[in-house]
Structure formats: C-alpha cells, structure tokens
Symmetry: C2
Subunit: 111 residues, 2 copies
DNA sequence: TGATTAAGATCACAATGTGATCTTAATGTG
DNA sequence: CACATTAAGATCACATTGTGATCTTAATCA
C-alpha cells in the first residue's frame, strides 16, 4: 500500500488512459483529453516520457497497434492501465479526498 | 491564470496550512495533519524545504512567533497562505474536478 | 519523387520530492 | 551549575518527476 505513489502529471496520464480505454488510448488523444479538460498545454513528447516511466513501474502496458491506410497512418502505441496502475489511481483519489476534507468553507467554491 | 501550478506535496502543505490557520500553522502540526489524513510519513525537514519554496514563489508568507515558556518552547515559524496561494489551491481543485469527471464507473469507488 | 500528415522517440535541463544530518533555544533535573 | 531532554528550525545532497527543443519514421497525396 502506498508503494506506488505517482506524480501529478503521471496521474493525469493514467486518468486519461482510463477514460479513453485500451482501444483508444495513445499519445495523441491523451494529449487532447488533458488539454481539453484542464486547459493547460501538453507536449506529445512529455506524454511519451511519462508513458515510458509508468511502464517502467509496471503501472501500464503498451504495445504497437496496426498501421492504418490513411495519410500518416503510422502504428500507434496503445496503452492499457494495469491493476497496480488502477490501485495507484485509487490511492491518489483517497489522498485527495482526505486532504480536501473540511476546506470547502475556508476556500469557498471547491465543490 | 495557471501561472502558479504547484507540485503534489506543495499542495498538501498549502492545504494543511489553510486548515490550521495562521495562528496554528507551523511545521510540526503541518506534518501531523498530512500524516493523519493521508497515512503517509512526512519529515519535518521536507516541510521546511517546501515552505521555503512556496515562500519564494510568493504563495505563502512566514514569520517567527514568540518563544514560549515551556520545555523546548522555541519560537515557531508561522505560516499564512497569500492570495496567490489560495488561487493556486483553487486552480488545483478545478483541475482535479475536470480530470476525475466521468471516471466513477470505470474505477469504482471514487466518490 | 517530393510534400504532407500522424505519430513516435530521445535528450537535457528544470522543478519538485525526500532522506540524512545538524543546530538552536527553551525548561527540567541530579 | 552542568548536563539531559524536548520542541523546533535549518541545510544539503540526491532522487524523482515535469517539460521544452529537436528529430525520426511511416503512411498517403499531388
């Protein structure tokens, strides 16, 4: 427990991968998901770096998909979140819940 | 907007300082607050490091309190969260809400 | 054949996280 | 009075994570 704490951006990538699902999770839509939801700008390169680190920790697995018959239809590196990755996400959720508790009145419009 | 993104641990320290309030926020209870709520173990030294960095960014201000007539009653370095610090916390809250939205069914027991 | 497009990849450096270690200033005690 | 004890503050180095610059590859289109 707690052995797999992830960084802030790593968590965003895990969440995007979970939302997209194994058939659709690869760097480009991961970038789009994070950008659209948070409004911040994300480099594809940084997603690759992070995917490599997450895979190194065993939190995700990746594999190359099939090339597609479209312009620029290069094979995609698809992503699936492994059970330890899901655990890390759940632990992050628990931590967030614990730390934000009771602050609504102090900060205002958290909820 | 978005200019003051804080790291994961920096955010935990800001939240603890907000919860404790200016009269009670100094390193020792900040450590206790984070440990009790998250269950993770926190070094006082790391809180000092983080307080220095947060103060460097202008997100908090600190000052030395009065020594107390108790054993080990050394002056405490008290902490107050400045308006930019509150903004950073609100931005973090917004980001969390945006990124976690719609994942309840996928992950299970988030809420 | 060369342009265009979608996608993948490496690298270096910056920012943040974290453990080891030490110091200081107060009171208690033999 | 000297020394122990306690609460608190501080510095440092190193590990981990975040991020921009830059380049490559593989597909179709003109």
């Amino acid at each position: 427990m707690g052995a797999n704490r992830v960084g802030e951006f790593e968590l965003l990538v895990l969440l995007a991968a979970l939302r997209l699902g194994p058939a659709e999770a690869y760097a480009v839509p991961i970038v789009e998901d994070i950008e659209m939801r948070t409004g911040r700008s994300v480099r594809r390169a940084n997603v690759y770096t992070t995917l490599q680190r997450l895979e190194g920790k065993g939190l995700i697995s990746t594999w190359m998909g099939e090339p597609r018959a479209e312009r620029g239809g290069k094979a995609r590196r698809l992503v699936t979140v492994n059970p330890p990755g899901v655990d890390a996400v759940k632990e992050a959720a628990a931590e967030i819940r614990a730390m934000w508790g009771g602050l609504e009145t102090i900060i205002g419009d958290i909820a």
